[in-house]
C-alpha cells in the first residue's frame, strides 16, 4: 500500500470527530461516577434537631449532645465567667463576632448567646475539626496566667474563650460556630432550628 491513496484531510477530520464524540461521552460518565461520591439521600435526610434541658446544667458545667453527627455544647456560665469576657477583647481575633457566618444574628452580641448564661456552640474547632477540650479553670499552669477559662484544642493548640471566641496567633481563624437554636420553653432549647427568627 503506497501513500498515494491517503486522504489526510479526511483522516484528520475522522480523528478529530472521534476524539470529540469520545470526550462528550466521557463527561457524563465522569459525572455519574464522581457524583456517586456525594452524600447519599440517606445522608441528606439525617440531621434532625435535638432538645436540651438547660435547667439540668449546673453552673459552670458543660453538656454535650450530638446534632448532625457533630458534638454540640451547652454551657451554663457563672456571673464571674461572664464578667471576664469583655476583658479579653484585645487578645481575641474577632471579639465582636464580625464574621457573620459563625453565628446567627441573634447570637451576635457580647456573650454570643440568646440568654447570657447559656451559650450553645458546635464543639468542632474551626481550624481542622477536632473537638476542643473544656478548660473552665482560671490561670492553670499549662495555659498561662492570662487564661480566663475557655476551650483548648489539643490537636493544634487553638484557644477559644468562654463565648467560643478565637484567640489571636492560633491556627484557627474564626470563632466557634453557634448553631441555629431557640428556646421552646423557658428551659428547653432546641438545637437545629431557630423558630423562624433567622
Amino acid at each position: 500500500m503506497a501513500n498515494s491513496g491517503v486522504d489526510t484531510k479526511r483522516r484528520r477530520f475522522l480523528i478529530a470527530a472521534t476524539s470529540v464524540v469520545g470526550a462528550v461521552g466521557v463527561a457524563p460518565l465522569a459525572y455519574a461516577f464522581l457524583g456517586s461520591m456525594a452524600p447519599s439521600a440517606r445522608a441528606l435526610a439525617a440531621g434532625a434537631p435535638v432538645e436540651v434541658d438547660v435547667s439540668k446544667i449546673e453552673a459552670g458545667q458543660l453538656t454535650r449532645v450530638l446534632w448532625q453527627g457533630k458534638p454540640v455544647w451547652v454551657v451554663n456560665r457563672t456571673p464571674e465567667m461572664l464578667s471576664n469576657l469583655p476583658s479579653l477583647d484585645n487578645a481575641l481575633r474577632d471579639p465582636n463576632s464580625d464574621v457573620l457566618t459563625q453565628q446567627p444574628e441573634y447570637a451576635k452580641n457580647a456573650t454570643r448567646s440568646i440568654k447570657p448564661e447559656y451559650v450553645v456552640l458546635v464543639g468542632i474547632c474551626t481550624h481542622l475539626g477536632c473537638s476542643p477540650g473544656y478548660r473552665p479553670e482560671v490561670a492553670p499552669a499549662d495555659l498561662g496566667a492570662e487564661w480566663k477559662g475557655g476551650w483548648l484544642c489539643a490537636c493544634h493548640g487553638s484557644r477559644f474563650d468562654l463565648a467560643g471566641r478565637v484567640y489571636k496567633n492560633v491556627p484557627a481563624a474564626t470563632n466557634l460556630v453557634v448553631p441555629p437554636h431557640y428556646y421552646k420553653t423557658d428551659n428547653i432549647v432546641l438545637v437545629g432550628l431557630d423558630g423562624g427568627k433567622a
Binding site: 464522581l34 461520591m37 456525594a38 452524600p39 447519599s40 445522608a43 440531621g47 454535650r64 450530638l66 448532625q68 453527627g69 457533630k70 458534638p71 484585645n90 487578645a91 464543639g123 474551626t126 481550624h127 481542622l128 475539626g129 477536632c130 473537638s131 476542643p132 477540650g133 499549662d142 498561662g144 492570662e146 484544642c153 489539643a154 490537636c155 493544634h156 493548640g157 489571636k168 496567633n169 492560633v170 491556627p171 484557627a172 481563624a173
Partner: protein, 538 residues
C-alpha cells in the same frame, strides 16, 4: 520469525522466548543490567521498599478476609482478628509494623537520593515518579489508619479531610464530597477501605514498575555520583558494558538478600516484642472505639506524618497552614530544578552543602518529634522555628548550587519578588478591603527593603560582589525575612510567654543560616569543592 530478535535459547526456554521476551526482559533488567560496583549501605533501601510492599499487599489481603468496612462493625472486627482469628494478631501486626517500616525505608531511600544527588543527570523523571510513589504511599497509609475505626482513626481523618475545607470557595463542597457525608461516617470508612485496596494493589505496583523502567533506562547513580556509562567500556562480562559496572544478577541480588536478612531480623524483632513501638506505630487512643463527641486529649498522627503536621500547626491560619504543609512536600518534587550544581555526590560538594543536608535531616526529625508533642509555648516555638528552617533549606540549596557565583542578588529581582509577594498577600487577605491593600503594601515594601538592606550590609563588610559578598547578602536577607515574619505575622504584644520564646529560639535560624551561609562568607575553605575522580572509588 524474522521480526523477532535472534536468540540462542533452545528447548522449552527457546520455545517460550520465540513467543514471549522472557530472557530478554531478565537480561535487560537483571543479568545484563550493569550497576555501579561501588554501592554502599544506602543502596539497600530501594529493594527493601519493594519487599515491604509485597508484605503489605499479602498481609492486607489476609486481613481483608476478616475485616468489615462498616462503622458499626469495623472496630470489633479488628479486635476479632486480634483475638479469635488463628494467627490473626500476627498478620495484623505484620501489616501495622510494615506500614511504619515502609516509611522508614522510603525516607532513607529518599535521603540517599539527596546526599548522592540521585535526582540529577537525566534522573528528574525518576525522581518525580519516586515522589509520586511517596504521595501514593502517604494517601494509602492515611486511609488505612481510618479502618480500625478507633479514636485516633476518626479524629486523625477528621483533621486531614478538613484540610480540604480550608481551600477558598470550593473547600466546603470538596470535603463533603470526599467524605460522602457532612461528617466523617460510615460512607467515608467504606470508600477508604475500597481505596486502601485499590491504590496499593493497583496504583503503587504500577508506579514502582515505571520507577524501575526509568531507572534502568538512565542507569543507577552511585555514592560518587559518577556516570559509569560515560566512563571506560569493557568488563568481564561484556566488551560494551561499563568497566565500573557489575551485573545486577547475581551480584547485587546477593547483596540485597543479605540486606533482606538483616532487615527481617529487625522487622520481626519489632513485630514480636514491640509491635506498638511505645505508641509510635500504633497509638494508645486507637484501642478505644471512635467517638464523635470527644477528641482524645493528645491527638497526633502516626510518626511518619508528624513532620508535616508540625508545619501545619505552626502556621497561625487554616488555609496558609494547609498551603504550607502541602508546599513542604511539593518543594521536594522540585529538587532537581533547585539544585543545579553539576556535582552530584556530597562527597565532592562544599562543606556548607553537606552541613545543609545534615541540618535538614535533623530538622526533619525534630519536626517529627514536635508533631507528637502537645502545643506548649516552648514546643510551639520550636516547631515554628524548625518549620522556618525546613523552608529555608530549599533557598539555601539553590544558593549552594552555584558556590562560586560572584554577584550579589539583584535588587531588581528582589523588587520584582516583593511586588508579586505584595500582590499575593493583598489577594490573600481580602481583595477589596482596605486592610488587605495595606497588608500587601507592608509586606511588599518590607521584602524589598530587607532585600536592599541585606545587599547593602554585605557590600559594606564584604566588598561589592564577589563570592563572599553573595553569601553574606543572602545571610542578611534571609535572616531579615525571618525576623520580619516573626514581627509582622506572629508577634502578639500581650502574650509575653510567646514573645520570650520567640526571642530565645531565634537562635535556631541564626545558627542554621550562620553555618550554611555566613561560614562560607567568612572562610573560603568551607566553600571549596573537591575534584570529582574519573572513575568510581572503592
Amino acid at each position: 520469525m524474522a521480526d523477532h530478535p535472534k536468540h540462542n535459547y533452545t528447548g522449552l526456554l527457546g520455545w517460550v522466548e520465540d513467543r514471549f521476551p522472557l530472557m530478554e526482559t531478565w537480561n535487560y533488567h537483571l543479568a545484563q543490567y550493569y550497576a555501579p560496583r561501588n554501592f554502599n549501605i544506602w543502596y539497600y533501601f530501594g529493594s527493601l521498599a519493594i519487599l515491604v510492599l509485597v508484605f503489605q499487599i499479602f498481609s492486607g489481603l489476609f486481613l481483608a478476609f476478616h475485616y468489615k468496612p462498616d462503622a458499626a462493625l469495623a472496630f470489633n472486627s479488628v479486635e476479632y482478628i486480634m483475638r479469635d482469628v488463628p494467627g490473626g494478631w500476627f498478620i495484623r501486626y505484620m501489616h501495622s509494623t510494615g506500614a511504619s517500616f515502609f516509611f522508614i525505608v522510603v525516607y532513607l531511600h529518599m535521603f540517599r537520593a539527596l546526599i548522592y544527588g540521585s535526582y540529577k543527570g537525566k534522573r528528574e523523571l525518576l525522581w518525580l515518579i519516586g515522589m509520586t510513589i511517596y504521595l501514593a504511599l502517604m494517601a494509602t497509609a492515611f486511609m488505612g489508619y481510618l479502618l480500625p475505626w478507633g479514636q485516633m482513626s476518626l479524629w486523625g481523618a477528621q483533621v486531614i479531610i478538613n484540610l480540604f475545607n480550608t481551600i477558598p470557595f470550593i473547600g466546603e463542597q470538596l470535603s463533603v464530597w470526599l467524605r460522602g457525608d457532612f461528617v466523617l461516617s460510615d460512607a467515608t470508612l467504606n470508600r477508604f477501605f475500597a481505596l486502601h485496596f485499590f491504590i496499593p494493589v493497583i496504583v503503587l505496583p504500577a508506579l514502582v514498575f515505571v520507577h524501575m523502567v526509568a531507572l534502568h533506562a538512565v542507569g543507577s547513580n552511585n555514592p560518587d555520583g559518577i556516570e559509569i556509562k560515560q566512563g571506560p567500556k569493557g568488563n568481564r562480562w561484556s566488551p560494551d558494558a561499563p568497566k565500573d559496572g557489575i551485573p545486577f544478577f547475581p551480584y547485587y541480588i546477593v547483596k540485597d538478600v543479605f540486606g533482606v536478612g538483616v532487615f527481617l531480623f529487625v522487622f520481626f524483632a519489632v513485630l514480636f516484642f514491640a509491635p506498638e513501638m511505645g505508641g509510635f506505630f500504633l497509638e494508645p487512643p486507637n484501642f478505644e472505639p471512635a467517638n464523635a463527641l470527644k477528641t482524645p486529649l493528645h491527638i497526633a498522627p502516626v510518626w511518619y506524618f508528624t513532620p508535616f503536621y508540625t508545619i501545619l500547626r505552626s502556621i497561625p491560619d487554616p488555609w496558609y497552614g494547609t498551603v504550607g504543609m502541602f508546599s513542604a512536600i511539593i518543594l521536594l518534587f522540585l529538587l532537581p530544578w533547585i539544585d543545579k550544581n553539576p556535582i552530584k555526590s556530597w562527597r565532592y560538594r562544599n562543606a556548607s552543602h553537606m552541613a545543609n543536608l545534615l541540618l535538614f535531616a535533623i530538622v526533619f526529625l525534630i519536626l517529627g518529634w514536635m508533631g507528637t508533642k502537645s502545643v506548649e509555648p516552648l514546643y510551639k516555638e520550636l516547631g515554628t522555628r524548625m518549620t522556618q528552617i525546613y523552608f529555608l533549606f530549599f533557598v539555601v540549596l539553590g544558593i549552594h548550587s552555584r558556590p562560586f557565583a560572584n554577584s550579589q542578588p539583584s535588587n531588581v529581582l528582589g523588587i520584582l519578588i516583593a511586588v508579586v509577594l505584595g500582590l499575593l498577600v493583598w489577594i490573600g487577605s481580602g481583595f477589596l478591603s482596605f486592610g488587605g491593600i495595606f497588608a500587601g503594601i507592608v509586606v511588599g515594601l518590607a521584602f524589598a527593603l530587607i532585600f536592599m538592606l541585606g545587599n547593602f550590609i554585605a557590600k559594606q563588610y564584604f566588598g561589592k560582589n564577589g563570592v563572599k559578598a553573595r553569601y553574606a547578602a543572602w545571610f542578611f536577607i534571609l535572616l531579615g525575612l525571618i525576623i520580619f515574619y516573626d514581627v509582622y505575622f506572629r508577634f502578639v504584644p500581650s502574650d509575653t510567654t510567646a514573645t520570650v520564646q520567640m526571642l530565645l529560639q531565634l537562635i535556631w535560624p541564626v545558627v542554621y543560616l550562620g553555618v550554611t551561609l555566613l561560614l562560607p562568607a567568612l572562610s573560603p575553605s568551607v566553600n571549596a569543592e573537591k575534584p570529582v575522580p574519573e572513575r568510581v572509588t572503592e
